[in-house]
């Protein structure tokens, strides 16, 4: 029972970690705090659903198409909405992403209605039995895919030229620009990659949560995850996501009702009280 809870907690935690990852990437590169990250997840899941369930495409082409779509979705948003706002105050940017999240949610509601859909799961739903432990294949898929995705991203940022350029930009925009890095291109790519990560998270979580225009609310729990891990730290986002998912699931199993929904936020406020810089965070220093 406990192990069951732990595994499903880790699976949900992986989703939080992916959403938090996408949001930290954007924050590090462009200083935009993207409150619409959960909505990106929702859009990705809905696009995949439309392709698979309504247009009867096989899973892999549908997945590929969804990811390409989300890639260009991210590029479109950056080009149309966020590039004109580069250098704007943090406050204005937060308001724009909030507005965007509400708009996307309503638009999705208008297109796909506010009903709850069953997202088709590709693999057999027969759970795996390991001795006394029974693991659902959905949870296993989530965990394995997240690990693979994070590993791919690690390789991308570590070894490709553009990945290194993105790292440089997130450390110091101006210096990167002076070194000949196309900062605009980096921004575009950051939004695109984050949207793709969010879409993957959406497709992974949709079979176990639900597919609904309001599923972006799951994405808001990426914020406690990011704060817990240390705002702006990529390993922090992943560890934070896992801890939040795990503890939330355990709270749901062993505490009275109601705790599960808000446990992430309770952790958030406790973290702010005792260790505001998070697990991997470094105390912020300001430069005049």
């Amino acid at each position: 029972m406990l192990w069951q809870q732990i595994i499903s907690g880790v699976a949900v935690g992986c989703i939080y970690a992916l959403v938090a990852l996408g949001f930290v990437l954007i924050y590090k590169a462009t200083e935009v705090v993207n409150f619409a990250q959960g909505e990106f997840m929702m859009i990705g899941a809905f696009v995949a659903y439309t392709l698979i369930a309504l247009l009867k495409l096989p899973f892999l082409p549908a997945l590929a198409f969804t990811l390409v779509f989300m890639f260009f979705f991210g590029i479109f948003l950056d080009r149309v909405m966020f590039r004109p706002l580069v250098g704007e105050e943090a406050f204005a940017l937060v308001m724009v992403t909030l507005g965007l999240s509400f708009t996307l949610r309503s638009v999705a509601g208008m297109i796909w209605t506010y009903d709850t859909f069953d997202f088709p799961f590709v693999f057999s739903e027969k759970p795996l039995a390991l001795g006394s432990l029974v693991i659902s294949t959905i949870h296993l898929t989530i965990i394995v895919s997240s690990v693979i995705l994070v590993f791919l991203l690690y390789l991308f940022f570590k070894f490709t030229d553009i990945g290194i350029a993105m790292q440089a930009t997130s450390q110091n925009q101006l210096a990167a620009y002076l070194m000949g890095i196309g900062v605009k291109k980096v921004f575009l790519l950051t939004w695109a990659i984050s949207s793709v990560i969010a879409a993957v998270a959406g497709i992974l979580i949709a079979p176990i949560s639900f597919l609904h225009a309001n599923m972006g609310f799951i994405g808001l729990k990426a914020f406690p995850a990011a704060v817990l891990g240390g705002f702006g730290s990529i390993p922090g986002a992943i560890v934070g996501g896992l801890i939040i998912g795990l503890s939330e699931n355990l709270a749901g199993a062993y505490l009275t009702t109601g705790f599960k929904n808000v446990f992430a936020y309770i952790i958030l406020i406790i973290v702010l009280m005792i260790r505001p810089e998070g697990i991997f965070g470094i105390q912020e220093k300001k430069r005049v």
Binding site: P84, G87, L104, Y114, L220, P224, Y265, P276, E284
Partner: protein, 361 residues
């Protein structure tokens, strides 16, 4: 139109509430107009005007926090809810009078603001945004689960208050009550902004480092702004509860918090006028949407979520195209005529920062 010149004779002139005597007269005329308004506009608009007055108090408070001090709260509906429920509990269950419950509602919201504000305001402004969002979700859940006090999903009933022989039972009487509170809170806000505390708020917003360098305790003033803002929301919540005479968890969702933020963005950041304009605009918005529905293509008419979409789109459009809000637009218009024909667009050019301000990593 002739331009008025201000002869400065002493420093106190700069912080006077009304720069010209004519301004004071105009405001008094406005108050008189608002007092006699209910006799002309009918009961429905009296109801709307009362709501506007209540929401304007929240948006004033939020503007003190966001507009003047530069901190973002995504959970003001939580303070609004705390105010409403405190007032409901104190009047209905404990049996206290409204006149004690109202300040208590404000204080309760302020105390919760203190608890959340102290840890999150030690860090950059984004932490407050996230922490208040978390608080809003927690409060929503507390309202649902703490059934002994809040009656859970069934909501609570409240009574209209009375003062001596006067009972504020009709909407018109309640409108006067709300208007009186609004004027009181406008004066408090206006006066706050000319005290050293108010100027410290503005200094914190403009540059935290410069503010610190002149000896302003950043954390203390940020927490102060947050607590004052929560107090405003709490009092408004109490007024709202007694006006609606029924409150439930549905009244205090995330959408409501975003609505409050939209008020100050649409109206105008860091201005008292803007707070009011925003409250007027956002309260009329559902009515406008209802009217506009007839003109929309039929495919959109049936859809729910039109209001949320409108909030979202309005937020984005205003931040991108008119960050100073309706009041900013009005100022530009006034300036255009005052300086005609030498108006320069550049006067109101946005200042942008292309260097890292928040962190050095």
């Amino acid at each position: 139109m002739t331009m008025k010149f201000l002869m400065r004779r002493n420093y106190f002139q700069d912080i006077q509430l009304f720069k010209f005597r004519s301004t004071l007269l105009w405001y008094m005329a406005l108050v008189v107009g608002l007092v006699i308004a209910p006799f002309f506009i009918g009961t429905y608009f009296t109801y709307i005007f009362t709501l506007i007055a209540i929401y304007a108090i929240v948006s004033l408070g939020l503007n003190i926090l966001t507009g003047y001090t530069g901190q973002i709260s995504l959970g003001h509906a939580a303070f609004f809810a705390i105010g409403a429920y405190t007032s409901a509990y104190l009047t209905a269950t404990v049996g206290l009078s409204f006149w004690l419950a109202l300040p208590a509602a404000g204080l309760a919201a302020a105390v919760v603001g203190l608890v959340v504000g102290i840890p999150s305001l030690r860090l950059s402004g984004l932490y407050l945004a996230i922490a208040t969002m978390g608080l809003a979700f927690i409060i929503e859940e507390v309202i649902l689960q703490w059934k002994d006090v809040t009656n859970g999903i069934n909501g609570m009933a409240l009574l209209r208050p009375h003062l001596g022989p006067i009972t504020f039972d009709t909407d018109q009487k309640y409108y006067y009550l709300s208007l009186a509170f609004l004027i009181l809170f406008i004066l408090v806000a206006k006066n706050l902004m000319r005290t050293p505390t108010g100027r410290a708020f503005i200094a914190v917003r403009d540059s935290e480092i410069a503010a610190q360098a002149v000896g302003i305790n950043l954390a203390r003033y940020k927490v102060w702004a947050f607590v004052i803002s929560a107090f405003y929301a709490g009092v408004a919540g109490s007024l709202f509860g007694h006006f609606m005479t029924f409150i439930g968890p549905d009244n205090f969702t995330l959408l409501e918090s975003i609505g409050f933020l939209a008020m100050i963005i649409v109206g105008g950041i860091a201005s008292v006028h803007g707070s009011i304009y925003g409250a007027v605009f956002m309260t009329f918005l559902p009515e406008i949407i209802r009217l506009a529905k007839d003109y929309l293509p039929p495919i959109l008419q049936e859809k729910v979520g039109l209001q949320a979409a409108a909030y979202g789109i309005i937020l984005m459009l205003f931040v991108i195209f008119e960050p100073m809000g309706l009041y900013g637009r009005w100022l530009k218009l006034k300036f255009y005529f005052e300086t005609f024909p030498v108006y320069k667009k550049e006067t109101f050019r946005k200042e942008r920062k292309f260097y890292r301000s928040e962190r050095s990593r």
